[in-house]
Symmetry: D2
Subunit: 119 residues, 4 copies
């Protein structure tokens, strides 16, 4: 009987042998700091809710913009942390192995950096 495999649409379509890649997928770089990231993201969620409330209460535009800038900076900082962890673990490990996996990981990281720089 054929079994269907649920495909996770968010996983980038890297043509990588899962065997080689297992360390990166099971032990993500950020796992050590996981609770700290969760706390920061909880705070970010609260900031987003706060901005929603400010618009609802028709607060002064400039004050809302100040909060949007603060939220953007907080997000940026989380992104830079995750990226550093990712380079430090997944990309460096792949680099140590070399070959197409290393190349794929690097391309993927560079694309993510470009999206961050341009966003």
């Amino acid at each position: 009987v054929a079994t269907t495999t649920a495909t996770d649409t968010t996983t980038p379509a890297l043509d990588i042998d899962p065997g080689t890649d297992v360390a990166c997928h099971t032990v993500h770089g950020y796992i050590s700091d996981k609770s700290r990231y969760l706390a920061r993201l909880k705070r970010i969620e609260g900031q987003a809710r706060g901005i929603h409330r400010m618009v609802e209460q028709e607060k002064y535009c400039i004050d809302i913009l100040t909060q949007v800038s603060a939220l953007t900076k907080a997000l940026e900082s989380v992104a830079l942390g995750l990226l550093d962890d990712h380079l430090r673990h997944c990309v460096m490990d792949a680099a140590a192995e070399g070959g197409p996996v290393a190349e794929a990981r690097l391309k993927e990281a560079s694309d993510a950096i470009a999206r961050l720089v341009r966003s």
Copy 2:
């Protein structure tokens, strides 16, 4: 008897005669689009919650970074909309009146623009 004045920390310290400024404070520029802004901010809050969940479930870093970039872009777009509304109403109205209020509003808007460009 000395009276204490409650200071609202979110209100910018513009030394503006409230009488002159009343139109700007009561009829904010974004009020016409308020429900649309609220819907966008609701979505942004959901995006923030989604990123929190991705870290919790230890999703792949690059996928998380993609979502962070998307959230940053959504925030940027809300900020540009609010700023346009603010210029279009508060700043333009102040400009039509001229004087120190116009100057103060402009300085305030320029500072907000600088924060957005730099964040």
Copy 3:
């Protein structure tokens, strides 16, 4: 005899009565600080030349990237200054007059701000 009209591709196609617009075109906002802007742009040109030289001499990538970041910041700062001057003069003057010119100037300024925030 048909006459050809030279079109200046850099002038935005605002359908504005030249009579109304003359103050903005002849007395640009930045004119008072013109020599200071020219000095800053001269320095920016020098920074660009310096980066070219660093690549030519195969300097260390990270040092080149540091100079690129510094140049980007310098450009950003000039742009924010020009924008403030523009709002302060052309846009505010148009606002004081009101009508389609004010609307056109504002739209144009908002678009320029969006390009700066996104670049």
Copy 4:
């Protein structure tokens, strides 16, 4: 007699054994594309000169701002290219070796990414 040591302010203070590091310093990642980078930087220098000329001739502010945004984007694109090359060569090579050099290279790259994202 005390001797003074000339310090090169542009060289990052990595405490790396020069022997280990020699490949990265002599064969920079961007060397293969060097002529293409030089051409792009020549063009960027020309753009900077063009903006200087526009201010000198008192061109319309918005047009100048458009050129500043274009220049910023061109610089960003060069920076992302150099960074990709750097990760692909210096950082990956260091990663394959591991140890403090790998760690130092990674930290340095992450810091450069943060400067780019924030500038």
